[in-house]
Symmetry: C2
Subunit: 244 residues, 2 copies
DNA sequence: CGATGTCTTGAGCTCTGTCAACGGGCGTGG
DNA sequence: CCACGCCCGTTGACAGAGCTCAAGACATCG
């Protein structure tokens, strides 16, 4: 168990460096096209022919899946250093809309160019594989919390995830600024906006979080361990009885 | 819309061939280690050091995620032609347990060997990327249905997914043999075993499915379109009001 | 044949979705 | 400057989908 913790610590410490390395590497070895985006801008859209991959240099991007019945669903969030468009490789078309949620810069380059450049610079290929692999692991975590945790724990987990994402990128982690409406958060977490609001209110009452300013989007997290404690506390498992 | 349908038709038709091609390709260019597995066997386990990737040649494999609180969660199912272990590339350790659910054969090979061989045979790299990309897209679909669909529709969607997976692999699709208990299905779909049982009973009453034999694990699907119709019918969206 | 595990079905309760009302922030326009 | 509308967030009341608990039927295997 100690070796497990040790490994995690090393990973965390090197995480910010990994992001910076990836960005440098891509920039140095590929013909990258930079693009400023603002909240609401589409980086690519579902059905559009696949050709380019993207890396978020700054800002915040949501992946929106459109179901056959026309329902929209936020399936992932992406921060600095994350890759976009990976789910388009297989089908030849992007599988989601990628929508910027904040002002930022996104880099794009041709997938074909990446493969070419990877012959000279194997580290590029490694970076691509790690990005895809990380996203797979992340998706599995999402699925797990979505299946197994009640609403309050999911909201708490969401804040924790966000704080962790900020921390890994060297940003302040005590105060986070969600650039999402309650409806968007609820959509991402598989619940209604009212439930999100109630969960946040409960956490605020328990002093697990505090709202700063007038606007209710900036959230102060006094102690991260209080957040994780809250998560565990409300995590009355939906299926506590082991399924085997 | 017609071009969309046309594209899909072509993709479907070539799908079985793609699986066969991948298996041939891997076999021809890599030092593959074959292993017979039986229900319950672990192909790899969470935390184990990453090194090899796996391809299912036959049988059925579940990916089980173990949460920090000790809850188990089935996060994916894999059939012939699917790759396993991809989520281990990033962290250096596998992120899930891969458990066989049926007798079958799994091929394994070193990730390093794959990268080496890919220099001579670029198609290998393409196959890897497509496998990862497909899995990402699949995970997003899971997330979507988990968030947006009520229990009955999720169970119906599960059967549909299974039938489709069989069809893509050239197996009979009218009668499917779930090698999972109700508890496992419920775990995978984010509901209790009782809810799974009730959903199946309702479908059987509506003659959307039929139980064959005494055992209730073999399910006959008279008409797939009846299944999809049932899905749509019970898909009273959790969040019908657009979130924006 | 009993023992065990799985599946089904019922009854009650809880969580969370639904509907509704209200307040606050912000931009627009008078 | 204030009035107004609009969007967002909060909170309450209520209902319903699905979880929990429980009992019993069925299949498999020793």
């Amino acid at each position: 168990m100690t070796s497990e913790l040790g490994r995690r610590a090393v990973e965390e410490a090197s995480f910010g460096q990994r992001i910076a390395d990836t960005l440098h590497l891509v920039q140095a070895t590929l013909p990258v096209q930079r693009r400023m985006v603002h909240a609401g801008d589409a980086i690519y859209q579902v059905g559009q022919e696949f050709g380019s991959l993207y890396v978020v240099n700054s800002g915040l991007v949501k992946m929106v899946n459109l179901s056959s019945e026309g329902r929209e669903q936020v399936v992932a969030l992406h921060f600095r250093g994350d890759w976009l468009g990976l789910d388009g490789i297989a089908g030849g078309h992007y599988g989601c809309d990628a929508i910027a949620m904040d002002t930022g810069e996104v880099w794009s380059f041709r997938y074909e160019d990446l493969l070419q450049a990877a012959l000279r610079t194997p580290a590029l290929l490694s970076a691509l594989h790690q990005a895809m692999s990380r996203q797979l692991a992340r998706d599995h975590e999402s699925l797990q919390s979505l299946c197994a945790l009640p609403a309050d724990a999911r909201v708490a987990g969401f804040l924790h995830y966000w704080a962790q994402a900020m921390e890994k990128r060297g940003l302040r982690t005590d105060q986070i600024s969600l650039r999402m409406t309650r409806a968007e958060i609820g959509n991402y977490l598989g619940m209604t906006l009212e439930t999100v609001s109630r969960a946040l209110s409960r956490m605020a009452r328990g002093d697990v979080i505090r709202f700063v300013e007038k606007g209710r989007r900036d959230i102060h997290i006094p102690r991260v361990d209080a957040l994780t404690a809250f998560m565990r506390q409300v995590a009355t498992p939906v299926d506590a009885r082991a399924f085997h």
